[in-house]
Amino acid sequence: MIERLVHWSRVKSPWVLHLNTGACNACDIEILAALMPRFDLERFGILLKGTPRHADVIICTGPVTRQNRDRVVRIYEQVPDPKFVVAVGACAMSGCVYRGAYNTCGSLDQVIPVNAYIPGCPIRPDALIDGVVKLLNSLK
């Protein structure tokens, strides 16, 4: 019973940390647009948190540039345990147009384990909401 309760609470209140690893900030703007009155992430209990300590879900945008690589790993380790990584946008999934560039590491899953991918360049705010909610429902 406790297990079900904990699972319910994890699904219902995902706190999000936004991490930009050298993206073209289109996805970052769309993530912020999802907070605005029109798409309102708070309906699902999603709060944008600043510190890695408070976050459950890390939303990562951008193909990890070489300079950002170790910072992404360090922040990933700081997030407390039941954590999920969502690769947002085509850049985080496969490097998008920057595939094969000398200064990017291809995609996010080369650097940290990724649980969910949200396609789109840039993602639509509703795709972001759908992605995070689906990720949490899939937790069994």
């Binding site: 540039t65 070489r66 300079q67 094969g100 560039a101 000398y102 200064n103 291809g106 899953d109 080369q110 384990p113 990724v114």
Partner: protein
């Protein structure tokens, strides 16, 4: 002071410093200059025609030579001042004394092409990562990037 007047004045006054002047497109003037004369020509353009705004500095790898183009603009036209440096000794004078705003573009040249910019106020690398191996200049034609094998998470 339209484009022809500017070309006219350049031909008459600094003929010796300039190797070739041409108007390639409407509002675009091209000047080929020797490496040594660069600062004098830039100073002249700045004082005479008010070419104070340095839009950017482009580097070109022509095989055995590097060509560096200084794009200057004023409220009327844009002028491209071009200089050539042999690949063996890629040294160019820094234009920060004439136009302070060119500092970032010259640091970028140093990063990308390995051109040595003499008496540049701030020679540190600009764009490349801290752990970038020294001596490798990405934008040179002969430099190729061998992509590391892609590990597919959870794959075979």
């Amino acid at each position: 002071m339209n484009v022809e007047a500017i070309v006219q004045k350049i031909n008459s006054e600094i003929k010796d410093k300039v190797q070739e002047v041409s108007v390639t497109a409407p509002l675009r003037i091209n000047i080929k200059v020797d490496r040594g004369q660069l600062l004098a020509v830039l100073q002249y353009l700045k004082d005479q025609f008010g070419f104070t705004h340095m839009a950017t500095v482009s580097g070109l790898d022509l095989g055995e030579q590097f060509e560096v183009i200084y794009h200057m603009a004023n409220n009327l036209a844009t002028i491209n001042v071009r200089i050539l440096t042999p690949r063996s000794d890629p040294r160019i004078p820094s234009t920060c004394s004439v136009i302070p705003g060119a500092i970032l573009y010259e640091r970028e040249l140093q990063d990308m092409f390995g051109l040595v910019v003499e008496n540049i106020p701030d020679p540190r690398p600009l764009l490349l990562a801290d752990d970038w191996p020294a001596g490798e200049y990405p934008l040179r034609k002969d430099w190729h990037f061998n992509r590391p094998a892609e590990i597919i998470p959870g794959g075979k």
